[in-house]
Symmetry: C2
Subunit: 357 residues, 2 copies
């Protein structure tokens, strides 16, 4: 494996759009572009848990490359899971197929903090570093590093699994603010160390998936989640200045103005907020990413095409738009539809595209 | 049973707040105030499905009264389920305990429209009319009639049950717009006939639970759901002019301005949108209802009290606020917390409360 060359993708549409620079085409990638919707994924993955798969660098590299090869996306997203760091330090978390992260002994009290010791990526998650290394040698597009946002990871650790009402995590954050603060601190440290190790190994950007932050009222997000998120991005800016960073969650319409102050380069938005409105809320200093409703990719191509054009139209001509879905690719999605979405986005000149004179 | 007296609750805080008139206290009720969180509910309900319970007028009346008696809420919400009309005309829908509505043979094609014939409430749901009649004799507060919004009912009929991604219903609404339009039409007719029968029997107001509308992008809501909703409220205004009407859904931050044009008197909002911002979005001509996060009622009383005051503060002093949760009472809620919330709302003078001179 060669040493990563910092900045080698600086002229790519994805990195330029993250920096709100002009581009020669609107960049596009898809959350969960690697995964069950791809027959080559199902063939390569076989049985076994996703955490087992994530520990195999060659497999991770292959799964990460698959959608780039098939669709010609402008970035690769590292194949991983938001609970990897917590699992690696021994918190006791698994990912159940069809369910998501499950925790046999959920976080309940102050004493559970000690189950979240600092991570040493070279020792605890060498497979992550190795997989990034393989990818850096092979990929012709930027690799986006992967971590869960502190709130979303906390929600799994506290609830014990996916939650409908998030009542336990809310009870903790409101009822035990000091424990909550310490928990956010430890999870921020885990995410920061993991993302730094991916960047050191050669990833060109990172996305923080604080997927469920939208379940919170805006003043609670600002008081109880945003400070940790600010620290996370400040830590990345300190160790890896100039590296594009993306902060994403679903249902975050009321949080966008706060998320835009977190120190990230890009805010990812779901389909509930029209992307023109999202751009207004995040302001001119932050790029936006999104936001085709993934469910519409299960409809006809005509519907997907019309909605893709609608997103491009709303995103407008100002630089700083990365096309994506509003959430992850759904398992039943026809890959051909996604392939045609990529072609369409690339063919239609919109946000930040320099028109040849 | 005596004949209902129209307008007999016109001077009640709930009806006056719906009409954006001054009140002597901020009215409060809770979505799902009748239900599993109450020991007297669990004692009265026994085993058996909720649809069986709903067909027993004396039981429905008792369950509807329980929270009014316990908490002193300013309104009763009719104990029912959003699928009652569809079930009554024989669509084939049940409510599975712990799951929600389930449909063995979901709506898939044009031919399924015939499974949604018009409802004749006196014949198909006499138990609804009978239960309202019992309640009108007994209640000292207004009774709110109950119906599901056309989109939300459609989502269950099309998906076959609760859904995470709503991909089938979205595929239908976008891919088969004529069938979707006809389906909305039939479900609107069902809701309209059911609500009219409840109002004829003596209910003083109605709430339309379009609970999952917030899963839609705003332009899709406006094009594919709002027209049916407008027709529903126009039909109620025609048959029952002046009757307060409430339109509620969760995650509707981006839809509030559209919902406010539906012809309802009140828009119910969840906790994701601060209620001051919700008031700005719905404008001065429509009241608002909400929006304490129900998960916070599972925390300590100190937390619930602080958040209750925060909602009252944000709702401000202008008339037209009905205090409620942002979604239904969660099953694990301590009834004492809810009782104290009612006391607190009644004790604190805010929206529309006339200060004695």
């Amino acid at each position: 494996m060669g040493a990563p060359e910092p900045g080698r993708f600086d002229s790519s549409p994805f990195i330029r759009a993250c920096r709100r620079l002009t581009v020669d085409r609107v960049p596009v990638w898809f959350m969960r572009q690697a995964g069950r919707s791809l027959p080559e994924y199902r063939a390569a993955r076989g049985p076994g848990s996703i955490l087992e798969a994530i520990a195999q660098p060659e497999l991770v590299a292959a799964l990460t490359r698959q959608p780039v090869d098939r669709y010609g996306t402008d970035a690769a997203i590292f194949f991983s899971d938001i609970v990897v760091p917590a699992a690696a330090v021994g918190f006791g978390v698994d990912v159940a197929p069809g369910t998501g992260p499950v925790v046999a002994d959920p976080f309940r009290a102050k004493r559970d903090l000690q189950r979240l010791r600092p991570i040493e990526p070279a020792i605890d998650t060498p497979y992550v570093i190795d997989a990034v290394g393989i990818l850096i040698d092979e990929l012709k597009v930027p690799l986006i590093g992967f971590a869960g946002g502190p709130f979303t990871v906390a929600s799994y650790l506290v609830e014990g699994g996916p939650s409908k009402n998030f009542s336990r995590v809310k009870a903790l954050m409101h009822g035990e603010p000091q424990i909550w603060h310490d928990l956010m601190d430890r999870l921020t440290d885990l995410a920061l160390a993991s993302l730094r190790s991916q960047l050191d190994a050669g990833a060109s950007a990172v996305q923080v998936f604080d997927s469920w932050a939208g379940i919170l009222a805006p003043h609670h997000y600002r008081e109880l989640v945003l400070p940790a998120t600010v620290r996370l991005f400040a830590g990345l800016a300190e160790s890896h200045p100039g590296t594009p960073t993306i902060l994403f969650g679903v249902g975050t319409g009321e949080l966008l103005t706060s998320m835009a102050t977190a120190g990230c380069s890009v805010v990812g938005v779901d389909w509930r907020v029209p992307i023109d409105e999202a751009r207004r809320r995040v302001g001119p200093g932050v790029a936006v990413q999104g936001n085709l409703d993934p469910a519409l990719c299960l409809s006809t191509w005509e519907v997907a095409a019309a909605e893709t054009r609608d997103v491009l139209d709303r995103a407008g001509t100002a630089p700083g738009h990365i096309f994506n879905l509003g959430h992850g690719v759904l398992p039943d999605t026809d890959p051909d539809i996604l392939g045609r979405v990529v072609e369409l986005v690339h063919a239609e000149a919109r946000s930040g595209v320099e028109v040849a004179s």
